[in-house]
Point group: C2
Chain length 352, copies 2
């Protein structure tokens, strides 16, 4: 991608009220038209232009991270973002959590017959802007169309490749007892923003999703040489599920400090009304890092320099696991300790 | 993946009649269970096991191919394959068409609430067997669940990374006037097999899809140093769309010889009854190669050594484009020349 700004507004062969037909996914002339006039102007990379079965890459690093996510969020547009932005930042963030610099994305669209082409244009423009904002190229893609009633407007899968520049091994197996856990900002905004629009809830001001790319703050920590044992973004299942997964994979215990975890006033209020625990609500622009105690001050200083990390704080510690102890506990504001279990399902389905 | 044989039959916490719930995609305990007891035993690679946001790769080549495809085929099971096998071979074949050795796949599942878990198990076992058969590892994945009536059982996206070992540049831009076009086998079987089962058509014997991985024959051509200008597998839109796309991208004309194109008797009969032209019917294990005339004999000798390539033959030539000439023409069996245009849509939707 030459990273030029939006060009999806170039002359299109599509009318104002045109919709997606089954034939748009059929491999014939109509699909060519969709690729040429809608996808190509947005995802203008050499790989996409060559009209080939795949993109050719020459990554600069010998160590790569590879990840994938499908996005089925309902509704497609929500305060603070849309499915297109989510499909780019979500996968970019997974790469960043591997300590990698995101470089290349694939984009697979599953469109429902009858989808307004205007809707697809907005989503694609949003993906283009998001890719530009975090320096990744959408290099290869695919479109399928399913019959009306067999999909839900747009589903997007993105897979991503990132280059690992830092020699550090980052992952649950690197977590050690004594590690301190820092959180990059307030939690619960994405899930509540989606829920509010879905259920028609009204608040004094609109709660916006925290959806954001995490490249800059995390890569800055790595470039500064901060020792990082594990990174995890807090998506489905929220903070509580993320710490439970890591505690289990690393075979350690974690104690969180409830008073230290930032939750915006309106989000807390919405959670109370809806009966949700903010620790389980999804985020799309927040992460936790497990780091040695000696690195806490420096890591927070670095994070505080970014708008995205200005509320970063220490929220807990990892401890040696003793038999039959709960994996994750939380010191509550009234001073007692409660178990933070992994939930069975999810409080809100289809929020990512 | 340690490439051990099927292990999806290990003790499962799922009952005979269990179905997928929204909670299986929620990031909580039920999703963990699905990953641990269904996906992990099948896709047992270090990347998947680490319970991390992505897989870490150290490819051996500096030049990589990267591609993606979503699979929405209906029905999920058809003679000669199923959506799982298709999702592996389809993406593997796209990498092979870039001249790459397929190495790593991602797998993103979009499941519909109510899907029998048994169905998912079969599909996943089939993916495992397919990956094993062509030496690729499924290293990272994702599962989303959509509400009943918002999907169609299972959609799968796979993205793939392959290593390019040959120094040859392969792609439409490399095609030259005078190039000869070889086809690897008979055409039309995949589309007709799917159509027959979908519409309940009966033939003397079951028409089976040609679904197959193309790695061995194509990599053998490359390893033997056969000069190859362009490769293309004949999926959606069939042979006719593939040659049209390449002719357009390369700015050349193509003449095909109808009598040379192998079509199985039963497939030809079904096409006649249904009013289809076999040249437009989808395949999932067939490819064309554009090669210099001097390489034709050697290339066919190599292909004939593989069961998959035993019917390989020369089917046409590329020529200099003259103004206003049709991009693709076919010399018919009765000796006249007809235009082979790209179709507008597709004769059969959702066949891949």
């Amino acid at each position: 991608m030459t990273n030029k700004p939006f060009s999806v507004s170039c002359p299109l062969p599509f009318g104002e009220n045109d919709t997606i037909q089954l034939a748009h996914g059929g491999g014939g002339r109509l699909m060519q038209q969709l690729i040429e006039h809608l996808f190509l102007p947005a995802f203008d990379s050499a790989g996409v232009r060559e009209s080939h079965d795949g993109a050719l890459l020459s990554p600069k690093s010998e160590r790569l991270a590879f990840t994938t996510d499908s996005y089925v969020i309902h509704p497609l547009f929500f305060p603070g973002g849309d499915i297109g932005k989510l499909a780019v930042y979500g996968t970019v963030n997974d790469l960043v959590m591997c300590g990698a610099r995101p470089r290349y994305l694939s984009a697979g669209f599953i469109l429902e017959e009858g989808l307004p082409i205007k809707t697809l244009q907005s989503v694609v423009a949003s993906m283009q802007a998001a890719a530009l904002a975090c320096g990744v190229e959408i290099v290869t893609g695919d479109t399928k169309v399913v019959d009306r009633g067999k999909g839900d407007g747009i589903f997007i899968n993105t897979a991503g490749i990132g280059e690992i520049e830092s020699p550090q091994d980052i992952g649950p197996s690197q977590v050690r007892p004594g590690d301190h856990i820092i959180l990059s900002g307030d939690i619960g905004r994405h899930g509540i923003a989606v829920m509010a629009i879905r259920e028609g809830l009204e608040f004094d001001t609109t709660i916006e999703s925290d959806l954001a790319p995490l490249c800059e703050p995390v890569l800055s920590l790595l470039e500064a040489g901060v020792e990082i044992h594990c990174l995890r973004d807090l998506t489905r299942g929220g903070l509580a599920s993320a710490v439970n997964e890591i505690a289990e994979a690393a075979g350690i215990c974690i104690t969180l400090d409830e008073a230290a975890i930032p939750v915006e006033e309106q989000v807390r209020g919405a959670c109370e009304i809806l009966g949700f625990d903010p620790a389980y609500v999804a985020n799309e622009g927040r992460f936790i890092a497990f780091i040695p105690e000696k690195e806490v001050g420096r890591a927070l200083d670095i994070l505080h320099a970014f708008p995205l990390g200005k509320a970063a704080c220490l929220i807990g510690v990892a401890r040696e696991k003793e038999t039959s102890e709960a994996a994750v506990t939380m010191k509550t504001k009234i001073g007692v300790e409660r178990i933070v279990d992994m939930i069975s399902g999810e409080q809100l389905p289809r929020i990512c």
